[in-house]
Amino acid sequence: MINNPFTLIGKTILVTGASSGIGKATAIECSGMGAKLIITGRDEERLNETFHSLEGEGHKQIVCDLTDTSLLETLVKSLPQIDGCVNNAGVGGKLPIAFIKKDSLQSILDINTIVPVLLTQFLVKNKKLKKGSSMVLTSSISGVYSVDIGNTMYSITKSAVDGFMKNAALELAQKGIRVNSVNPGMVDTPINNLDSFTEEQKLKDVENYPLKRYGKPEDIANGIIYLLSDASSWVTGISLKIDGGYSL
């Protein structure tokens, strides 16, 4: 047997937002690397679709709206001890500054920023993260490595996620828990609502990516697998940019 430092065999991993996009690909790829998955999502049908795409046995799925704090806490309390958590659930929100409303800002902050903080809080308080475990937050290049017109609200939520990630990395290092983020550029997933762009706009935008394509969810899943695995045992507090060279 060839030694593989990226293996997830024997690890139990929680993935939120697993019903589509990066979360779905991450759950599937992690199962391919041997992990036992606990996946959550809001949409029962789509979550079930992810669930049935997982390789191996012994996985669990939990339908849950994580913005409901008491449901989130109940969910965490029901978990076994885990080796990894992919704090991934998130939404987009493109509005020029002149159109930002408190409600829309609050709702994107709730899902993208407050849920990851509270999920971590509940996991730590209830001692669900094993010593040597790894938490990965799905952030973005937006707000951390680059900014775009109209993306202000999303950018704010993701800069806050990276701020939280670094604080958590420092504080949880004392418990032997690593915390990192992945920071994707444009990935072809439902969150980016690529249908709202014209083919012409997309072709022009892809020109901004030195590697000449948008990301695939699997490109990000592979970065997440690295951060979950023991291959990254000495890595904590990093923002792993995966963007086809966009921010260069």
């Binding site: 020029p96 017109i149 109209g150 709202s196 014209t198 706009q201």
Partner: protein, 81 residues
């Protein structure tokens, strides 16, 4: 009730340096000097806020005149009801 005059006025508010008298139903709005991706996004946000209609990039691309765009908004509004 949505009217083209009302639509033109709200459309015109997205510009800073363009005289609103230059904006008419037959105006080819993407040819206006001030037209930009930010204004396109602002027009989409305005239409969502004022008329509760979601425009796509293709709607902007396929509209030549302001009246074309207005007609898309009106037809979506009607289909919603």
């Amino acid at each position: 009730m949505i009217t083209i005059q009302d639509f033109i006025e709200k459309f015109g508010e997205q510009f800073d340096d363009t005289d609103i008298s230059l904006i008419k139903p037959e105006t080819e709005f993407k040819a206006l000097e001030e037209w930009s991706s930010l204004i396109a996004l602002s027009v989409m946000a305005m239409v969502d806020e004022e008329y509760d209609v979601s425009l796509k990039g293709d709607d902007i691309r396929n509209s030549k005149t302001l009246e074309d765009l207005y007609n898309i908004v009106v037809s979506r509004k009607r289909n919603d009801q």
